[in-house]
Subunit: 344 residues, 2 copies
């Protein structure tokens, strides 16, 4: 690589089941030069998120898949390295989805969120102040409608969404019960994040432990994992429970449906007899009006020390494929961010 | 039977699968005499409704089951035949759940809804002006939130709930597509009730016909039947669809879960990628504040001829078991009411 080179990672093939390194290809291409009206972005922090698994597949979903040989998509916090756009200066920081998995990108500035010239924590725009934090806020408050004293349960409790859900639940006076994939994560959830309890879903008696931690049942189950965790949650749901549904990460690598019996109708019976609401949502779809309230509240909670935020910063774009593979297996610990370039 | 006799129907045994006549027992007991503060009710119109199947089972649900040898429960429009209660006069009409499947009942008047001395259509309190109509109104408007131009689909389209859902959908400027169990019912839905289309779910190409009738997809699916109808609805649901869930009558007689694969997780994926809301509700739980608006709107729509209401009136309490069995098989046509006694 020279400073005239742009390293990028493209989708080489669509995964069958869990993605492998062979589904990605690292390429070196020429570093691009901005035309009039364009900006050259220097990618500093690339976000890795579970939704990226969906973009690797061509199954119908809420967003188009990445085409084979195209650069993988993703949110990134970049600096302007060169600018032919009147509104952007060299050195300025922006959040954008136009860069994706590459060191440099040309962009038309249309989707940029300005982060200023000297942001204190630029990578927070990918996590607690960005998509995952906003997802937790809108899902829990607008769909979950938690009331003081209620029990809120969330899985991936040390991930950027789950950790935020649990901490907002505590701020709102709820009992927060987390679910995570190791004893170390569970300790972190209770001791650092302030969950009332956190259960290791790999424990053989997970369902019994979860039931014991939810003495009064579950009023809000913030769903981001699906699968066996949800199976253990269903019998604990209280009448009028609410289930904000923003992800099903445990199911993303599945290649076929689980064996029967078919419980689809049984789930509907549970929703009926317990008068439960399940609502799927995608944070970028229809929630923009809530962003100012989120940003204000979250800034305040962070400054008051009421919200802790854990980031797992990994060095080098070449590590992104393996880190995404790990993330989908729950091997991350906190919000995964790839440092693609040093800042200017 | 003499005028000193009270005929009643008790639950003789719990059904396994579809109820049979053997699950009920007709008894003759002495006509009761009201004590101080009590009213003797003369049951005129007994309502038959799908939820009664649930009360015959001892599976956990939102209401306690009927005990073996107890009188079957149900809503009824009664006249006061004798009164030792200062607020009730002989001849007055009331709606109550204290009478159930019997000719006469003592009651403490606590749950009575007064219908006056000369109601124009007393049995309407069991249907269009009562539980089924109110269920349609709250489910469609409060949970379904239909917007003009959207497509609303409802099954059991000539039943008291489905017919009302479709007609309110039309009043609100929606396209209404019904599903029913015979060509005659489908004709009634379109020609009398004003549905834009109605599909016979017994047709071999039902799913294709439903898809053709829902060119623009489905925005609101009012769920009251479940099973194969829901299977055909799922692929047609639009982004941001809403599913008010008030019943699953096609599943009530099931004795085991359908064979796999297990589509529970697949349903959740659909709710996620399409950002769909499913919300179970029971009309008697938390919706009382909406009753005045319902009563006002429905009275007006009826008086303006915008809502048609079809009743299937059957004579004699002894026919109630077979009529309930028929109802659960979709053999009714309109709201099933049993005339238990002639009016005073």
């Amino acid at each position: 690589m020279t400073d005239k080179t742009n390293q990028r990672i493209v989708l080489a093939s669509r995964p069958v089941g869990a993605p492998t390194a062979a589904n990605f290809r690292i390429e070196q291409v020429a570093k691009p030069v901005p035309a009039e009206g364009e900006v050259l972005l220097r990618n500093i922090y690339l976000s890795l998120d579970p939704y990226m698994r969906g973009r690797m597949s061509d199954a119908a979903s809420y967003a188009d898949p990445v085409a084979i040989d195209d650069v993988m998509v993703g949110g990134a916090v970049c600096q302007v390295e060169a600018s032919n756009h009147p509104d952007y200066e060299v050195g300025e920081w922006v959040l954008t989805y136009q860069a994706g998995w590459q060191q440099y990108a040309l962009a038309d500035a249309q989707d940029f969120v300005k982060l200023g010239k000297h942001p204190e924590h630029p990578s927070y725009a990918l996590g607690i102040m960005g998509m995952p934090g906003f997802t937790a806020y809108v899902g829990l408050l607008d769909i979950g409608e938690p009331k003081p004293g209620e029990t809120v349960v969330v899985a991936a409790a040390t991930g950027p969404v789950g950790a935020t859900v649990g901490q907002i639940a505590k701020i709102k006076g709820c009992r927060a019960v987390g679910i995570a994939g190791s004893a170390e994560k569970c300790r972190h959830a209770v001791e650092v994040l302030g969950f009332d309890a956190c259960i290791d879903h790999r424990a053989p008696d997970f369902a019994a432990q979860l039931a014991a931690a939810c003495n009064d049942g579950i009023d809000v189950y913030f769903e981001n994992v699906g699968g066996k965790v949800f199976d253990s949650v269903i019998p604990l749901l209280n009448a009028h429970a609410r289930i904000p549904l923003c992800g099903l990460v445990s199911q993303y690598n599945a290649t076929e449906l689980p064996q029967g019996p078919d419980r689809l109708g049984l789930l509907m019976v549970q929703l009926l007899v317990k008068r439960i609401k399940v609502q799927g949502f995608i944070i970028f779809d229809g929630n923009q009006h809530r962003y100012p309230a989120f940003a204000k509240d979250m800034q305040q909670w962070l400054s008051e020390g009421k919200i802790h935020y854990r980031e797992q910063l990994e060095q080098g774009l070449a590590n992104a494929p393996q880190q995404l593979i790990n993330l989908l297996e729950g091997k991350n610990f906190g919000k995964v961010v790839i440092q693609v370039n040093p800042p200017l």
